[in-house]
């Protein structure tokens, strides 16, 4: 058992040769049937993962760009709506003002017309009164002339006529 401990004791050239050949053959076989395909699949996976990361990054960027676009669009629309609303309000205000002005003018016109009417009526009334007074005066005068009257009777007469005039008016 111990004689094989000493290097020179059992020099087996055949073993050396066989071990070498066996190892080289094993290496070649494994390279072809095991390590090669394994390496291939690991490389492939690496590539796949890299691609996935790239595409995820791309998608993220696209989404971000889209989001920004949408945000801008939203802002624009909101501004437009605001402007529109303001316009409408202004227009409504203006219309209201116009209507008030028109109403005011109309009422002014009506008032003026009414004033003119009143004035005319009064003038008419004054004119007719004057006419009546005149005719009454004539009538009174003719009555006075007709008969002498004492003061009491005269007063009574005047009152009577004035009453009559008031009734007629």
């Amino acid at each position: 058992m111990f004689n094989s401990l000493i290097l020179g004791a059992g020099f087996a050239a055949g073993d050396i040769l066989f071990q070498l050949v066996a190892f080289i053959v094993l290496l070649a076989l494994l390279k072809k049937f095991a390590w090669g395909p394994l390496m291939g699949i690991m490389k492939e996976r690496e590539q796949h993962i890299a691609n996935e990361i790239d595409s995820a990054e791309k998608n993220r960027k696209e989404a971000e760009a889209f989001l920004n676009e949408q945000r801008d669009e939203m802002k624009r629309v909101r501004q437009e709506a605001k402007a529109m609303l303001e316009n409408q309000k202004q227009m409504a205000d203006q219309q209201g003002q116009e209507m008030i002005e028109a109403a005011r003018l109309e009422s002014e016109r009506l008032k003026e017309a009414a004033t003119a009417e009143i004035k005319r009526e009064r003038e008419n009334a004054v004119a007719s009164l004057r006419e009546q007074v005149a005719s009454l005066s004539v009538m009174i005068a003719s009555k006075v002339v007709e008969k002498e009257l004492d003061e009491r009777a005269q007063k009574q007469l005047i009152d009577e006529y004035l009453d009559q005039a008031g009734d007629q008016k």
Partner: protein, 236 residues
């Protein structure tokens, strides 16, 4: 207990038939293991593929720790094959040994210095080959006289001592383990008291041998990459 090797002469060379047998078995096991684990490769690794990918990553780590991946990548397959072959070889001798007519047939092939030194010599020769191939003969030659000229003899000695230590370290660890296992087995077979006394140490020593066998496979592969890095890397 006295075993000797079953040798035969063929074409003027001595063949240790036990070694031939065990080398073949170890190679076959490694090959079957590798092919089975890589039989159904998928992008989404499962079960056995996970294991073999872990081995590959492990060897990648070994190479990466000694040289950069661009120069070291080509040694990946060598490293994986070495690691698995030596590991399987170390494990083969653990569960039992078979001796027929006091000729030891079943043992670890790595428990024979011829085998380990063959592997070590092959590795060292490969480092020289790749050193010349990748850096050119001039740069390779300069490696022997740098940083100082008088270091040349030491560098030459270093090459041989590297080879010897690389091979004999593996051989020594595995052979010692097998001798102790053999002695314990002999004790266990001696009688009931011997069997009771040998059981626990046997258990412990087999566990320790698994550990040693794994570590030695790792060290052999690691040192292969270190020697390789000495020869092919630009720095160091």
């Amino acid at each position: 207990m006295e075993h000797h090797a079953p040798t035969t002469e063929f074409l003027g060379m001595t063949f240790n038939l036990s070694n031939i047998l065990m080398i073949t078995i170890a190679s076959a096991i490694v090959f079957i293991l590798a092919v089975v684990t890589t039989r159904s490769l998928a992008m989404r690794p499962t079960g056995l593929q996970n294991f073999i990918e872990w081995v590959m990553d492990f060897v990648k780590g070994l190479i990466g720790s000694t040289m950069d991946w661009k120069t070291g990548g080509r040694f990946l397959f060598l490293g994986m094959t070495l690691l698995m072959y030596i590991f399987v070889s170390n494990m083969l001798g653990l569960p039992f040994a078979i001796a027929v007519d006091s000729e030891l047939w079943w043992k670890s092939p790595t428990a024979d210095p011829t085998i380990t030194l063959t592997l070590a010599t092959m590795v060292v020769l490969l480092t020289h080959y790749y050193g010349i191939k990748m850096k050119g003969a001039k740069e390779y030659g300069r490696g022997f006289v740098s940083p100082l000229k008088f270091l040349f003899p030491f560098k030459i000695i270093e090459e041989f001592s590297n080879t010897l230590t690389l091979g004999l370290r593996l051989y020594g660890n595995i052979y010692a383990g097998e001798i102790l296992l053999g002695l314990l087995a002999g004790l266990g077979g001696a009688g009931i008291a011997g069997a009771l006394g040998a059981f626990l140490p046997m258990l412990l020593w087999q566990g320790f041998s698994i550990f040693v066998g794994t570590i030695q496979a790792f060290i052999f592969t690691m040192l292969t990459m270190v020697y390789m890095a000495h020869k092919v890397a630009d720095d160091h």
